[in-house]
Subunit: 910 residues, 2 copies
């Protein structure tokens, strides 16, 4: 049987259904589902993603039979609509839209009003008795078709209509007469011909075929690729094409179009939310050119339509068990639902909705946990402005204006006016606020780079707003209080002019924005967790967070520890739910206060006695450090990594600093320089560090082990349950570990005997050299635990120096050589294979081997899932990532133990 | 049944035999074998290596039953000898010697004359009627026992005898009277007591037990460990202990002792070779204190003994089918063979003997191939002095003296006088000649580091000579023409004084040595191979080499290619038998002549057009390079690696050079500096290089691919069979290779079309990033061949920067963390696992995948064996290592296909 590439919907039934998303795309599956559910969907059909895949795999050729299938389906569509393509009396017009399995708002090109030609426009005039509307449809169609399908720059059409408006002495498009619009159509056709070298196609079927190809082509446009990269979307065959009977929102004052959310996508509140424009088409709302009305206003303007919408809202939430984002059009008083999909939402909204829906019985707790993306949870930990500082700024008259609070958060940065500038400033270490009249998909790079976004046009569903919320960026949108001038790189509110580089503070919670700096304070959730005061704890946000948190804990299996080097960090992470320290680095301790002098004495010493004398000075300080950390983590394991960096990191490289060190040490600057030079390394990453220092200067590790064990004994004597896990870094050969493990145990035994107290402790190693993973069976003979140091394992396994790879990683992401930056998300296929091999070999030797990860990947949700899958005992990450890692761990458990809840938790595409 | 730890030999039969080498050590097995063969071996017994192993595994305790077994065996020994330990009339004296399964000459401690005490010495006086001899035995025994068993420094005993000699007014030990020697014995006993705090033990059994422990202890002495490291000996349980009835070579003028080889160990000539001393013990010969007589002189001095020795010589060669090294003693006219073992020999001798023995029907060709160690073959390629220059030096009176030609070769270096200095000078890049009165095992480090060795004392079997030959070092030994003064760091021949740092030229072929420099020329084998002139080809050495070479070829399966970047190197390697180029680096070509200017223009260019213009200048030059190489390798594959090093290697880092570059480029020095700074990398090893350059600047590889393919087409048009294999370096991700492979093929196709000629070519990749080995199944989809770049694979897989690891690798070798320097011999367990994984995964995708190795490991025999084992198609190494690699490849084939010949090929221990 030939593959079916075309699926019809309309007339009360559809060939597709909701679970055919991969084949029909989110939009197509939804249109089918909505049709089957009896919703007022304009009839149409969907060309499958398989057709798109075939197109790319076969040198941009359609599969055999597709053209015929479309012909047959068009005939059916004409029958259902009782209209025909190109009909001189009652012509059928359609929209052509893309729709992949995963939602990519604003990224894919759309063509509306397809089917118009010089004959059809006359039929429309006849039928509607509205020549202005008919010519406007035609000129819009030529514009979109020319731009999207044939690559004629939209600017050319804009110039033409601008010229006509100027000649007519009018300002807005809708002030043009039918004749003037007819003139515009003629000019557009001339532009089309000039830039394409061909006549504008008059055959609706030819129009459609070209549009379908354009949709296929848009799948691999640069901006679509970039969006997929940023959003980590992969594994899809392509986009489907949805061909849908046009419904016109611009037939006059009884028509309109809008977008609505079944709940507030910003706060998650269970209220009907959205906006609409009378006498407009859908893209007018999304593009933010006119500022729309709130949906509640529709209750007065079109009460029947509003009531029908409200009913659909309830139906949709029951049906999908998720917050929906719907596009609708009212054509001459008749409501059509053009599409519905799971609504993008802020992190706050995501948690609020998930928790509320459990309360409402719509979903269960595991589904709620699966529904909150870990990075959305991170948004709950977003900053706000300090109240006092904010008031002071207001009092001082520093407020510049007010707009829509489109993305919560508080951000301060230097004003920049293009996406490219934003990326460039950030690349040189600045924080920026991207200020734009409106944003477009071309701006996503700069938007991503910016701390916050400020626009002077567009609503809560404008491009800027949708994208910002998804990323948890602070955003104020559509603020008409200011005039932005790109040419002078400035904006003004009439009194104050802000130029490129000036500090701007944007309050994404309120919509206000200010000149100058305002102090930023953490979220109430963070305050509730860290400070525990009642005010913060009674904050509703803290309370929904706490509820979700309890469900996370009920589902989580993988342990979560933190990377912390100080009692303060340890305490903080413990508040966030860390179950121990997975990585306590000891090198930072070497820099504090006067210690660096002792460290440098040790480095300068020519013999063992000299090094031991200097180390003796360090011992009590290190012991004190560990006592504080053990106390903060009482009852929980603390993995202490022995000294890791090369010694040259502890000596100065600048002449003046060397002179100062020489004075401190009482030796000549030449002697200091000679020592520093002798420590120089060509590739410090692969040099004399980690356990290699331990092997060549065992006295350093001896001191550290003694400090750890004395601290643990002292704690034990004070009744504090200290649980040290001593970790030897950079092991590649069993002999290294054997040598150092034996010394470690000897010292630990001696110290316990001296102190007369027993301490439970472990000795283990980091697995960060590829060889260690390859011979993990041997290494596990001497190691009681493994902690995968995936930063170094990635650097060595990929041969990428993190400090240098910035020169080629962007090109690798652009060229799709890899999908994720391997320093952000663990490279499963390569490094992950090493990790899995290391665990399996290690446990073959020692079946109770404790295994964790302490690279920065430990806070990355995709990596956390991997760690769960390969059977690690815990991940370890920075204190503020602990809640994120815990959620990711719970989601991984649910994904593998309760796949149905996980599937329900995933957002529906559209 | 209890383990048997003691094996008796003597009285015509033995409990052990030759194939019990692992248990009895080489010496013990040989003594048993010799006894069984009816040779005149002094009776005795061997304590097994298992006893030694037990000793080390059990806190230095003997196994249960060992003491009783020894007691019983002593009783048997006393019966066979008809002498008893400690007997006041006819006492038994024994020697105690170590003996591991592999020969380690001079490394293990020996105690002679064990069994003497104050009563026994009287019995010896009575029995021998030679009180001088008896007291001399006693004092030697106390010296050795004190030194070897109890750790009393030999110097103390030397001082004591020196004082007695001085008081007596005599120069040599043998001038002392019995009374004076009695005095020496008393002084020795006092020294012993002073340094050990105990009386000298009088019970022979107590003496023996302590000596056995000392032998066990010597197994792990620093020098034994160092010897095993240098000689790559591992996997042995320990040493056996051989207790043997003493035969005295110092009972007067009818006694003597000597060492003989069944063939000349220096040239391999089939002549009886050796030397002896009348009225001496064995260690007098080995230590080189007296210069001995050549063995031929024995025919006159002791004709019967000489005849018996000659008979034994024949018997031994027939028996062992190898050249033997025998120690003998004549006690009052009676010959005893103390030991025999495969004789150490020079590379020249090794090849000569192997070839001769095939001619004599003693061994087959495969055995001959297996018998020549690859590094010995390398000695055949050793340098000689230029004849003219040598004659000029002689004419100019620069000859300083003459000694024994103890190790062939020609070496020039700066004179140094201690092993430590030798190591220190070499560490800072100097070549040295180590000048010593005599050498000892403590000197091996410096001997290894030196270009050549010159001693003023000792014979052809002295420590210096034996060790130098084994390593293929140039050595002149026992030259009494000079006086060496350690305190002033100089030596003089009475006319000329050579001081530390002065140049010395040593001719290890003739025994002459000179002041100043002499031009060094390659061996006749190398001349025969490379120049092919009849004089060189008629050299006997060339002829035996050629014979062995034909047998190598008959047995070899693994291909051998060379690493060569120029037509000259390629041609050379081809002469040595290379079957293609495994690695042609292109970066060296970038530095030649004016090219670097174009390269720098390319680097400085800000845009693609600028880079392309500079590359266009390079294209014809690169094309010319490749044409020359293809011509030299006509008909053989040439693997060309595209540009690998980071761009900063092509720009100057010194201010003055940057200024020069600025002038050449016509830009400011600041601009040059800014570019150089922007190219700086923290870890260049892991930076922007290899295919990462290809991905970011594809135009560079495009030019190189075009140059390769244009050159290949041009050759083809000239009738030269060019076979390019284009290699993309540093691939870690399939996407990298996909991108570059596609471009490569497009260009190759285009060039062939332009030139109208077909060229067979391959596109492949280096596997040098660990990830590439892990995902080799994917990589093989796009690669037609893999070449393992084990230098980088080792650096990344072990996390060792070769430029920096010198700071800890020596400590790792000392601490036995690894046995071999992983940059010399491939780390099989770790990196080898990655290599095997890479091959297996790659061939799972593409079963005909061509696989080779092009790291420097390709010339290391142990690594070559590994490459054969894992099924590589070829190894590639530097031109001069090609013969070595070919031999190693043949040996690997024989080892796995013909294990019997391989086993026979292995040297017998002793």
């Amino acid at each position: 049987m030939a593959t079916k590439y075309v699926y019809f919907f309309g007339g009360g039934s559809a060939e597709g259904k909701a679970d055919m998303k991969l084949l029909l795309g989110g939009k197509g599956a939804n249109l089918a589902e909505m049709t089957n559910a009896g919703l007022p969907v304009p009839p149409g059909f969907t060309i499958t993603t398989e057709a798109c895949d075939h197109y790319y795999r076969n040198n941009q050729q359609w599969p055999a039979g597709l053209a015929e299938e479309i012909t047959a389906t068009i005939t059916h569509l004409e029958e259902v609509n009782r209209k025909r393509f190109g009909d001189p009396v009652d012509p059928l017009l359609v929209s052509v839209r893309s729709g992949a399995a995963v939602s990519m708002p604003g990224m894919m090109d759309t063509v509306l009003n397809l089917g118009i030609n010089d004959e059809v426009v006359q039929a429309l005039i006849q039928k509607s008795n509205n020549p202005r509307w008919a010519w406007d449809c035609y000129r819009r169609f030529i514009d979109m078709f020319g731009d999207v399908v044939m690559g004629v720059d939209h600017e050319h059409f804009e110039e033409a209509i601008h010229a006509v408006k100027e000649a007519a002495g009018v300002k807005n498009d809708n002030e043009l007469t039918a004749e003037q619009l007819h003139d515009v159509v003629n000019r557009y056709k001339a532009i089309y011909r000039q830039h394409t070298g061909r006549m504008f196609p008059t055959d609706p079927r030819e129009q459609m075929d070209l549009a379908v190809n354009a949709v296929f082509g848009s799948w691999n446009s640069d901006r679509a690729i970039k969006y997929r990269q940023i959003n980590k979307i992969s594994g899809l065959a392509g986009t489907a094409v949805n061909i849908c009977t046009m419904a016109f929102g611009n037939l006059g004052e009884t028509s309109g179009t809008g977008v609505c959310f079944t709940r507030d996508p910003s706060t998650g509140e269970n209220v009907f939310y959205g906006e609409y424009l009378i006498n407009a088409q859908g893209e007018d709302v999304v593009a933010g050119i006119r500022t729309p009305e709130p949906i509640s206003a529709l209750a007065n303007q079109m009460p029947a339509v509003y009531a029908q919408l409200c009913e659909i809202r309830q139906k949709m939430e029951q049906h999908y068990a998720d917050m929906q984002d719907m596009e609708f059009t009212v054509e001459d008083g008749v409501l059509y639902i053009l599409q519905t999909r799971s609504g993008k939402r802020t992190g706050v909204a995501s948690v609020q909705i998930a928790v509320d829906m459990v309360g409402e019985g719509l979903i269960d707790e595991a589904t709620a946990v699966s529904r909150v993306a870990p990075d959305q949870l991170a948004q709950l930990l977003l900053a706000r402005f300090d109240e006092g500082d904010l008031k002071a700024a207001q009092k001082a008259g520093r407020m510049l204006g007010h707009g829509l609070a489109a993305g919560p958060g508080a951000a301060v940065g230097r004003a920049v006016f293009t996406a490219d500038e934003a990326e460039a400033w950030v690349a040189r270490g600045e924080k920026v606020i991207l200020v734009r009249i409106e944003t477009s998909p071309e701006d996503v790079g700069g938007m991503y780079a910016a701390e916050g976004i400020l626009t002077s046009r567009g609503g809560l569903t404008s491009h800027a707003a949708v994208v910002a919320r998804q990323w948890g960026k602070c955003c104020v949108a559509g603020s008409s209080d200011i005039v932005i001038d790109y040419s002078s790189k400035s904006f003004t509110n009439g009194k104050v002019t802000v130029r490129e580089g000036d500090l701007v503070a944007v309050n994404g919670w309120s919509g206000d924005y200010f000149a100058g700096d305002i102090k930023v304070v953490p979220s109430p959730v963070v305050r509730g967790i860290l400070e525990g005061d009642d005010a913060a704890k009674s904050d509703p946000l803290f309370q929904v967070y706490a509820k979700l948190d309890s469900w996370i804990e009920a589902n989580r299996k993988l342990g979560v520890r933190t990377n912390a080097d100080s009692p303060v960090d340890a305490q903080r992470a413990r508040c966030f739910g860390a179950e121990g320290i997975g990585l306590c680095r000891t090198e930072h301790m070497f820099f504090e206060g006067e210690r660096i002098i002792s460290v440098r004495k040790m480095i300068l010493a020519d013999d063992l006695a000299g090094r031991e004398a200097a180390l003796a000075e360090l011992l009590p300080m290190q012991r004190g450090d560990f006592e504080g950390i053990f106390e903060a983590m009482a009852g929980l394991p603390v993995t202490v990594r022995l000294l890791d960096p090369p010694l040259h990191e502890f000596v100065p490289h600048e002449v003046e600093n060397q002179a100062e060190m020489a004075r401190e040490m009482g030796i000549s600057p030449e002697a200091v320089k000679a020592k520093v030079d002798s420590l120089h390394e060509f590739n410090p990453m692969l040099g004399h560090r980690g356990c290699r220092l331990g092997v060549t200067y065992p006295e350093i590790y001896d001191m550290q082990v003694r400090a750890i064990m004395e601290a643990a004994c002292n704690c034990q004597l004070k009744g504090i349950d200290a649980r040290p896990e001593i970790m030897i870094p950079l092991v590649g050969f069993k002999g290294e570990l054997d040598f150092l493990e034996q010394r470690t145990r000897q010292i630990c035994t001696a110290v316990q005997a001296e102190k007369g107290v027993q301490v439970e402790y472990l000795v283990g190693t980091m697995i960060e050299v590829p060889r260690a993973a390859l011979v993990a069976d041997e290494i596990a003979e001497a190691a009681e635990f493994f902690s995968f140091g995936t930063n170094d394992l990635t650097q060595m396994g990929l041969g990428f120096s993190r400090d240098d790879a910035g020169k080629f990683i962007p090109a690798y992401l652009d060229g799709k050589i890899f999908e994720d930056d391997p320093f952000v998300t663990l490279d499963r296929k390569g490094i992950g294979k090493l990790v899995k091999m290391g665990i399996d070999l290690g446990r073959a030797t020692r079946d109770k081997l404790k295994v964790g990860i302490c690279g920065e990947h430990g806070g990355d949700p995709a990596t956390v899932e991997f760690c769960h899958q390969v059977g690690m005992n815990y991940v370890s990450c920075s204190p503020f990532r602990v809640p994120v890692a815990r959620l990711a761990a719970a989601q991984a458990s649910i994904k593998f133990d309760n796949p149905e809840a996980a599937e329900k938790g995933k957002e529906m595409g559209g």
